[in-house]
């Protein structure tokens, strides 16, 4: 017997609420890792229960034409993360320090090239300074390996808007690196 799709399970949970537990069993580990990357394990643990509680309350609004609930859950998680921006910024800077350690010094570096020690903190700052929508799209794409389509579902945006946000995010990052970090990205 095929196991029921997420949409079927959520549909069933309208009459049998405890069936929603299966959605947790399927996706909680993925979401916990997602939240952990962004705000650290400790905060993530509190958020994951909150995330699924919100998902449960909003289960009537789940678009049943989507077989998999994961992008929808990512979207709820993304909204929750907005409240934890400060914790996220700290974690990004810590990640930048870690990345420096892992990166060998660039021997071929020319005059204009940036050493990892300079580069990664700057990338972290740049990500942190991106407008919320761009940062979210970028990290769902780059860190969570979501497709454009899934990012669009998570953020409830047309796929064209996701493309343009990712393009703007790339442009912002590139601009920052080419200017050698002199200019900060301006939030919109």
């Amino acid at each position: 017997m095929n196991s029921p799709s997420d949409a079927e399970v959520i549909g069933r949970s309208l009459d049998d609420p405890e069936a929603f537990g299966l959605i947790y069993d399927r996706h909680a580990a993925t979401l916990l890792r997602f939240l952990g990357r962004r705000v650290g394990a400790e905060v993530a643990e509190g958020l994951v229960g909150e995330l699924f509680r919100i998902a449960f309350e909003r289960r009537k609004t789940f678009d049943a034409s989507r077989a998999i609930a994961l992008p929808w859950l990512y979207g709820i998680g993304s909204n929750l993360l907005l409240k934890h921006r400060r914790g996220e910024a700290r974690r990004l800077r810590a990640s930048a320090r870690m990345a420096v350690v892992g990166e060998p010094p660039d021997k071929r570096a020319g005059a204009g090239a940036l050493d990892a020690r300079l580069l990664f903190p700057r990338v972290a700052d740049a990500i942190e300074a991106l407008p919320d929508g761009e940062r979210e799209a970028l990290l769902l794409f780059a860190w969570e390996d979501l497709s454009y389509q899934s990012v669009a579902e998570a953020l409830e945006l047309p796929i064209g808007t996701v493309r343009s946000r990712l393009n703007r995010a790339r442009a912002h990052l590139r601009e920052l690196l080419e200017l050698g970090g002199e200019n900060r990205v301006r939030s919109r």
């Binding site: 929603f20 537990g21 994951v48 509680r53 930048a96 870690m98 580069l119 990664f120 990338v123």
Partner: protein, 188 residues
Amino acid sequence: MKPVDLARKLRRDAAFEPAALDRGKAVLMAAIRQEVEPPRGPTIVPQIPYLDVSAALSFLERAFGFREIPTARLVTADGGIDHAMLAFGGGVIGIGPQGHHGTISPKSGGIESQYISVYVDDVDAHYQRAVAEGARIANGLGDYVWGDRPYEAHRTYEALDPEGHRWRFHQLLREVPQSERRRRPREH
């Protein structure tokens, strides 16, 4: 290096304990069960028949201080009251036309088959109000001690509503100490 790859370099996983997943599930299932359980009301609700339900509703509010639960009212096609619920303290009653569910009002039946006890904070004030609003007093105010363990002292009176239903209003005065329990007083 491409901006997205640079961003990807900053991805760092936070290790989580497996128990974190179980704790998150416990949070979710507790929230679900809370929704599943209906709000708790009284487990026994007397349903009281009247010839004139509107008049009874008005009297019970004015004389006894009951309050209709507005959302619970059912109306007939011609705008009459088919059923109404009234709350008082932690108790609820229903009222409706006689003849429904085999019931009959004492006004047409000529006999009361029951009386209803109601606990109030200040029985003297309640008595004054009921008399002022035209309640017929079947038994005036008096103090009584009775009960199995624990013995209790009550101050009570009995009133008849416009159709002859009998209501007994009690104010609990105190529990009777052991030393006063030698003689069991007559029951009322």
